[in-house]
């Protein structure tokens, strides 16, 4: 594979992995995903601030992207679940 092509693939893999982490962080913080927060973090990570700006605005105008996270009760349970998962994963390695 050409070096330039490999660079694009590496970049894509890093973006996908970064997006997955942003996704999981969102669950850990809110219990559910918060799209707007995730999009902002992804934009900062990829430095592609203006990509999809028009599409994002159209979706906001259609009421598809809420400005505040969904509220979930018992967030302590969610965080303790994440902690226990990490403990188990740590023991396995």
């Amino acid at each position: 594979m050409k070096a330039s092509k490999m660079k694009i693939k590496d970049q894509q893999a890093a973006t996908i992995a970064g997006f997955n982490q942003i996704f999981l962080d969102s669950i850990n913080s809110h219990g559910r995903i918060f799209e707007l927060g995730m999009i902002i973090r992804l934009k900062i990570m990829t430095r592609k601030i203006f990509q999809d700006l028009g599409l994002g605005l159209r979706m906001i105008l259609k009421g598809k992207i809420p400005f505040v996270p969904q509220r979930v009760g018992k967030m302590r349970e969610v965080r303790s679940m994440f902690d226990r998962i990490r403990e188990i994963e740590k023991r396995k390695t």
């Binding site: 894509q12 997006f19 995903i33 599409l55 598809k64 979930v72 009760g73 969610v78 679940m81």
Partner: protein
């Protein structure tokens, strides 16, 4: 009839109209959808890319909550959530010890987990829908798009016709629309790469939309919020990139049922779509 209903995160945001239409249709059919108060995200594709324990734990947390509500059936409108729940139930015996350590309780595996599409197309409910059709959708030529996860992998879903399913077409026919044969009904739309690798979604959805157009469809019926987002939101870009005119509205199958039952486009949230439905 009373069933558990897990909407999933996107049905409260990008796919609110799927949630609205699902609830309206079920109310009209006499089906009570029971939602657990504090359900949490299933992890979608991010959890299993990170940790197998997490991929089982996130859906299982919700399955335990629905089990405690004394329900025997759980329906899921999102194909990704449905897949994660089915896989968690399938893998649970292998992760019993870890799950008991995380949650301090057992999952009894009493819940029957169904996709919302499978649930509403079962014979008994289809009969009720048939009776309720007031405005047959005679102007619509529809292709049914199942995507990857409603029928596959078959060892998890139990679907026999996993490459060429036809149960959504049967529903479309009952609603008075014409279901069309096509080649892309179980192809991938790119799922959550909508944000991280949009060029991949544009290629995959471009092929899907073009095939739908080629067979003469004027609407695509879907049963997944991610498929909808990719096919609807990226359509204008796809038209620009490939220099084609598609103009194909993407409707949730619940919106099609609602329209055929005589509900208005406004009631069913059709105005939330980026590609409008003109031929009602």
């Amino acid at each position: 009839m009373r069933v558990g209903y897990y909407p999933g995160c996107t049905l409260n945001s990008t796919a609110e109209e799927y949630n609205i239409s699902a609830k309206k249709v079920c109310a009209s059919l006499g089906i009570e959808l029971v939602e657990a108060a504090d359900w949490t995200c299933c992890g979608a594709s991010a959890a299993h890319a990170d940790s197998h324990v997490m991929a089982v734990a996130l859906p299982l947390k919700n399955m335990i909550a629905y089990q405690k509500m004394g329900l025997d059936t759980l329906v899921l409108p999102c194909a990704a959530c449905y897949s994660r729940f089915k896989i968690a139930a399938y893998l649970y015996p292998n992760y019993k010890k870890e799950m008991e350590e995380i949650f301090g309780e057992k999952y009894e595996q009493v819940l029957e987990i169904k996709s919302f599409l499978n649930f509403l197309t079962q014979e008994e409910i289809l009969k009720t829908i048939r009776v309720k059709v007031k405005k047959p959708l005679i102007h619509l030529r529809a292709v049914a798009y199942y995507g990857c996860l409603i029928t596959r992998p078959p060892r998890i879903t139990g679907e026999e016709q996993y490459e060429y399913p036809t149960f959504m077409e049967e529903l479309i026919r009952e609603l008075g629309a014409e279901p069309l044969d096509w080649s892309y009904k179980t192809e991938c739309c790119g799922m959550n790469f909508l944000l991280s690798v949009p060029e991949l979604v544009i290629k995959l959805c471009g092929d899907i939309l073009q095939n739908a157009k080629d067979v003469g469809a004027n609407v695509i019926a879907v049963a997944c919020p991610l498929c909808h987002a990719n096919l609807d939101a990226r359509q204008r870009e796809i038209e620009k990139k490939y220099k084609v005119n598609l103009d194909l509205p993407i409707l949730y199958f619940t919106q099609l049922i609602g329209l055929a039952m005589g509900m208005t486009p406004e009631e069913l949230g059709l105005k939330k779509h980026l590609v409008p439905l003109r031929d009602i």
